[in-house]
Symmetry: C2
Subunit: 170 residues, 2 copies
DNA sequence: GGATGCATGTAAAATGTTACATGATTTA
DNA sequence: TAAATCATGTAACATTTTACATGCATCC
């Protein structure tokens, strides 16, 4: 008796709605800039992905745009509709989805550690540990001090994982 | 003085070459089945992604196909060329790429924990811990016992990360 | 011997990347 | 005021998803 099944949000869409919710409103450019500035390289934040996505979200009734001006320049400022907020919260609190493994470039490679020579393996694992360590303090998070903690404990957990692996293949 | 720049492999392509290297040869179907059977839902292993990718890899000279038969059915069996093996090893041993954050559905949501009510937050974090715990022993890895260890220590690291987060937001 | 699932694909549509265009604003 | 950068997009292209087609093998 309710509408056909309001297609579930992709993670890019969910994250975009969440970003709008954070400040109440945002332009496509601002959303794209947030993605681009994330420490996760996965989120490219390219205009070609974000601008069309926003008009899709509008068509689905999840956001509404207000035509505005920055100086002499036209622009659209997006806000969540009630539907959009509900969809965002459903996406955000989906614990099952949140526990999926996602895409992990390290894990993908670990599955093929046996294709490396012993020397390559050593160099590789050392290198990964060094690069991971360097991520402890990325240049973001000015306004979210607790995200600093999320980040640094992510690094700690990864380094711990790496040493378990070293021990296991020894 | 060397060729234009042999475009770098995507992670899907790198992983496909590595899968072929594991057994020496494989059909597109077998590669797709490996992706589909992975505990990481990210790798869909759909035919529409894998079959065309294999012909792309062939055009790039990284694999060669031998026309064969299963009973009365035609099929193509792929093997790595020397170039393909070199490209695969370069992809596999790239420590910098391996240390990227990739796409993590949990981390993406943690960045917006402040949009949840306290009760939602509790339910969410409990749920994630339960679902993560359940991944300790996935039904794969028959022939790679050490991957079992990689998996279980991944779970341990994640649970540890989760409890750091709980402590931080308390 | 019909239904179900395995194996090999292709086609249409959605999504994302890369590259460009264009005007406004800031900076040197 | 010229050059650089910010802001707002669009277009062409590549990739991936979803859905379908088709023939073989197996099982009931």
């Amino acid at each position: 008796m309710n509408s056909p099944q309001p297609e579930r949000l992709s993670d890019l869409e969910g994250a975009a709605l969440a970003l709008i919710a954070q400040s109440g409103e945002a332009t496509s450019y601002q959303v794209a800039a947030q993605f681009a500035g994330s420490p996760a390289e996965y989120w490219s934040g390219s205009a070609g992905a974000v601008y069309p996505m926003m008009t899709r979200l509008e068509r689905r009734g999840l956001i509404v745009g207000a035509e505005g001006m920055t100086g002499k320049r036209a622009r659209t400022v997006w806000r969540l509709t009630d539907q959009g907020r509900a969809a965002m919260i459903a996406w955000l609190t989906d614990a099952e989805r949140a526990s999926e493994m996602g895409f992990d470039p390290l894990r993908t490679r670990l599955a093929h550690l046996d294709l490396m020579t012993a020397a390559q393996r050593r160099t590789f694992l050392d290198g990964v540990a060094r690069f991971t360590e360097a991520r402890r303090d990325p240049p973001s998070f000015a306004e979210k001090p607790w995200m600093q903690k999320v980040q640094s404990s992510w690094v700690a957990a990864r380094l711990h994982w790496l040493s378990s692996i070293r021990a296991a293949i020894k």
